[in-house]
Amino acid sequence: MNQSPGATAGSDSSVIAQILAGDSQAYARLVDRYGPALFRFCRVRLGNDAEAEDAVQDVLWRAFRALARFRLGQPFPAWLFAIAANRVKTRYQAHGRDQALFEAVTREERTRRRPDAEAAALDALVADQLRAAIGRLPATLRLSVELFYFSGLPVKEAARVVGVGSEAFKSRLLRARRRLEKILGTAPQPDGESEGM
């Protein structure tokens, strides 16, 4: 099982203290720890790999520059993903119109570079289907889904990013699941919920 960001809160703080004491290269440990989850978070929102990699760099650089404002002892992933949510939102708005083309190209790239091309093609279809459905969720539900299902943050950490308690977050996920099923066309009709929020 992957290392949990939540379980490493203490060591995150010690790494940050080390950085603030002058060892800026210690930041590589945080980059390695959170880079993959950040990539997935940016990827699902931005729609292509290159944009997502750029966004990861942008977020990590901004977080580094702002480390002095981080409160030691607080959960670093919650702080980091809050920056990411803000930055990705800005980039998404700026690049939204070009997304369809990017997605078509990168879907083919994703499929081609994997040896199990058939499974990869299906995964690409699944990813596109899910991404389109998530794009129709209200903003608060959407962010919750992206953090939990795609970034893979534990509920506790994802809830901190959103700024609610764990139980409230689970409730949001449940509502999001119901809406996704409805959007995907698999939920019983009607279910008493409207798509708007």
Binding site: L20, A28, G35, V56, A68, L125, G152, P154
Partner: protein, 220 residues
């Protein structure tokens, strides 16, 4: 939160961009089933190990190792290039905020500042009031899910404690009314739940604070 996928039911309700032919419909059915399977798998994983980060989350969006390595190196190069000149506050130095460190010096500084304020405030306030130079302004933020909201700005040394907002008349809104001297520029942000720094959506101006953040700006 587990959901049993039922891809055979009503899958044509939202035909995708691929079209409406039988091949496209089959593809979409498979994709929908796969999507629900993915969500259910992540749910089961979280139920089994709620404190752990996910192993399955990366399946749909695999990250190219070469691109990841390149991105990492470019970032670390950028940090190296910035060198020691990059302004990062050190623990215990002004600008670094820690929950534990430096509390007493801050309290003493606040007491000293309060004493100075007591001495000079009457004179300054009287002078300002004589010129009718104070403006009453209400800061409002709508944050329905917030447990607390504070106003932090250059007028209160970016304290997240000194100016808490109170619930407003409109559900989900928070507000605070201040009297501020005219003729100045105020930079500020709202702080939600003592940790999320956000700009004022009603502020006509925002500025880069030079530390990777954005601040709202107000001219009186």
């Amino acid at each position: 939160m587990s959901v049993k996928p039922d891809a055979g039911r009503n899958n044509n309700a939202n035909p995708g961009p691929e079209g409406r032919g039988p091949v496209a419909t089959t593809q979409r059915s498979l994709a929908v089933k796969g999507a629900l399977d993915f969500l259910a798998t992540r749910d089961r994983e979280a139920a089994a190990a709620p404190e752990q980060a996910s192993e399955v989350a990366g399946r749909l969006y695999p990250r190219a190792a070469a691109a990841a390595a390149d991105s990492r190196e470019r970032l670390l190069d950028r940090i190296r290039s910035a060198g020691p000149g990059l302004r990062l506050a050190r623990p215990g130095q002004p600008g670094h905020r820690s929950g534990q460190q430096g509390r007493w010096p801050r309290i003493l500084a606040l007491v000293a500042a309060a004493l100075v304020l007591v001495i000079v405030s009457s004179t300054v306030t009287a002078a300002v009031m004589r010129r009718r130079a104070l403006v009453e302004i209400t800061f409002v933020l709508v944050a329905a899910d917030a447990r607390s909201v504070a106003l932090a700005g250059d007028f209160n040394a970016w304290s997240i404690d000194s100016h808490p907002l109170q619930p407003g008349a409109v559900a989900g809104s928070w507000e605070i009314t201040l009297r501020l001297p005219k003729g100045r520029v105020y930079n500020y942000n709202f702080v939600i739940d003592a940790q999320h720094w956000v700009t004022d959506p009603r502020s006509p101006f925002t500025l880069d604070d030079g530390m990777g953040g954005i601040v709202s700006s107000l001219i009186l």
